[in-house]
Symmetry: C2
Subunit: 353 residues, 2 copies
């Protein structure tokens, strides 16, 4: 807990003077005021976060954390649990969606096992920070112990900090874990107090019967555990997942190091809720990449007051939306730093009306 | 007219069998069915357009056409007309928004003068296809002659075809012309029959008084000219612009050559309306990059049944939204062609529910 408190305390407000300087610069570029909309806002936010007038996005890192969920026993996913491990191997060999989209935007992918249910084949590219062999079935009791919840957040912090030594200018969150939309839905219901029916979606592709069962399981998990929304660690322990705790740690560590963190979809959003309830200032460091098909994601974004950049009906996770968001952040900073000004290009400014 | 009819007649329906093959391939990739949403649709559309299972986006070209508008006499823009020419020089020296965003996605920008009001300094990088020194003031009569309207479309076709010799796998539309949201609004009102008040926006930044004046000028232009919505050339001649005609030509030529064409914002949308009314099959070759802040753009997209990929509050034009759309198209095709399949990656498929 001490480690987490220390990180949380080190998160400062973003740099207001730098926001102003960025705005001033944007307003002098050869384009009508504000005509590049969200790209301008994004460039400005990154200046504020990094406290730099010329932020460079050289090192782009997406953290894809994998873990299993005991609640899959309740039939909440159409895919078997073994897919989590299989997808980790797919990440390592470069064939998954996140590999392709990270490659597209020039980001590297850090793949970590924080709780896959089997021992994975040793691989130098895999970060091994396994907390346990999957969570327990939250429909029958807490998903993990309080100690494990703290450990999962600390694992995320350490994964970030180890990678930070190699350089990180922008981070993205991603995950893999069969059953994890069920945990994310329970977390969202607990913090936002919105009905489970509104929050819960079809995950990897449930039919109507499967969706109804999932809703029942989430309600059962919440009433069996009674997580306290004022205690983020309690929520994480009772109805969370190791990758969700890990991503909360990544988000907190990014903010503490003044690194913008691009939040992926619904499960990453649940991790953002945990991080926010540990330290609300972390919110200003978050960039919402997209709005997922999962209904609960929109509820999280509204709760946090984040506006997603994209709405492309994505629901894959892994960090795929975050990768596209990082691409837009890159574009936004190029606008800020590379465009000509009215003066440098000898272009006339707006007439006084 | 013969040239245009010939191009229009050569536009075929997109390849249905290829759409099916692309869908089949997408469904075998290591991700839940359809979980990459709009990216999957986009990849599929490009396979259908190019009639290829492995479309490569090596040559990406954005056509940025510049022209002036006589209607600026009526005070419809907060910027002086000279800015059109100044921005052409800015495009050529690489300092404008489109240069930065095209560079970001690896596209080259073809800058053409199809009707700037002054003689531009000769420059080997500038395509000179000037039809006239700006249009006439449409509030007092036709913006151009019928012959000029035809010439502007032909100019677009020729600009495309000349560039096509160097290779074009995907095209984007862009424009520059002080006053051209006024022309685009009039075109949109004529074809969609929606009220001018709903269609007209603040362009490069009009205040309330300026906006009201612009609405009055558009209404006056429509009643003075009475363009016939069943005759695309009549609409273009009476209330259009040279760059709008040129872009309609680009769009038709792209479709005739089975090249996907990414439509930028409101003015490009007005050009898409012209192209569509010449040959409706052209629509399937269009990719709507974004939804502009200009209200008329949403009306065009709905009229054509196009779903924009992005909604980033852009209103710059030049092809900036098209550039971002081309980046997404690139990402979509990488997903299609580079991701592992369930079989190749040994990942278990969905259980039968």
């Amino acid at each position: 807990m001490e480690r987490i408190s220390k990180i949380a305390k080190s998160i400062c407000a973003i740099d207001g003077a730098m926001l102003e300087r960025a705005q001033n610069r944007l307003d002098n570029l050869t384009k009508p005021l504000g005509s590049l909309g969200r790209l301008e806002e994004l460039a400005k936010q990154i200046c504020g976060i990094s406290a730099s007038e010329n932020p460079l996005l050289k090192n782009k890192v997406i953290f894809t954390l994998a873990a299993d969920h005991g609640v899959t026993e309740e039939g909440v996913s159409p895919y078997p649990q073994e897919v989590t491990a299989q997808m980790v191997y797919n990440f390592l060999s470069g064939g998954a969606g996140i590999n392709i989209l990270a490659g597209h935007v020039g980001a590297r992918v850090v793949v970590a096992d924080v709780g896959v249910s089997i021992d994975l084949k040793p691989d130098s590219r895999l970060v091994d920070r396994k907390i346990n062999y999957g969570t327990k079935n939250m429909a029958r009791g807490a998903a993990m112990t309080k100690d494990e919840a703290l450990k999962s957040i600390c694992a995320g912090i350490e994964i970030f900090e180890n990678e930070y030594k190699k350089g990180i200018d922008i981070a993205g969150t991603g995950e893999m874990g069969i059953g994890n939309t069920t945990a994310a839905s329970a977390i969202t219901a607990c913090f936002t107090k919105r009905p489970v029916e509104e929050i819960t979606g079809r995950g990897a592709g449930l039919d109507d019967k499967g969706l109804n069962n999932k809703i029942t399981v989430i309600k059962k998990s919440l009433s069996a555990n009674n997580p306290d929304p004022l205690e983020a660690i309690d929520v994480l322990a009772k109805v969370g997942g190791f990758e969700i705790g890990g991503l909360a740690g990544i988000i907190l560590a990014a903010a503490a190091n003044k690194v913008p963190v691009v939040i992926d979809g619904f499960i990453s959003g649940a991790a953002a809720l945990i991080a926010y309830h540990i330290e609300p200032k972390v919110k200003d460091y978050m960039i919402a990449s997209h709005c997922s098909v999962e209904g609960g994601h929109k509820i999280i974004l509204e709760f946090l007051g984040l506006k997603p950049l994209l709405d492309l009906n994505l629901r894959l996770g892994e960090g795929t939306g975050a990768a596209l968001g990082i691409g837009l952040a890159d574009a936004a900073l190029k606008i800020l730093t590379q465009m000509a000004t009215f003066k440098s290009a000898n272009v006339s400014e707006k007439k006084n009306e």
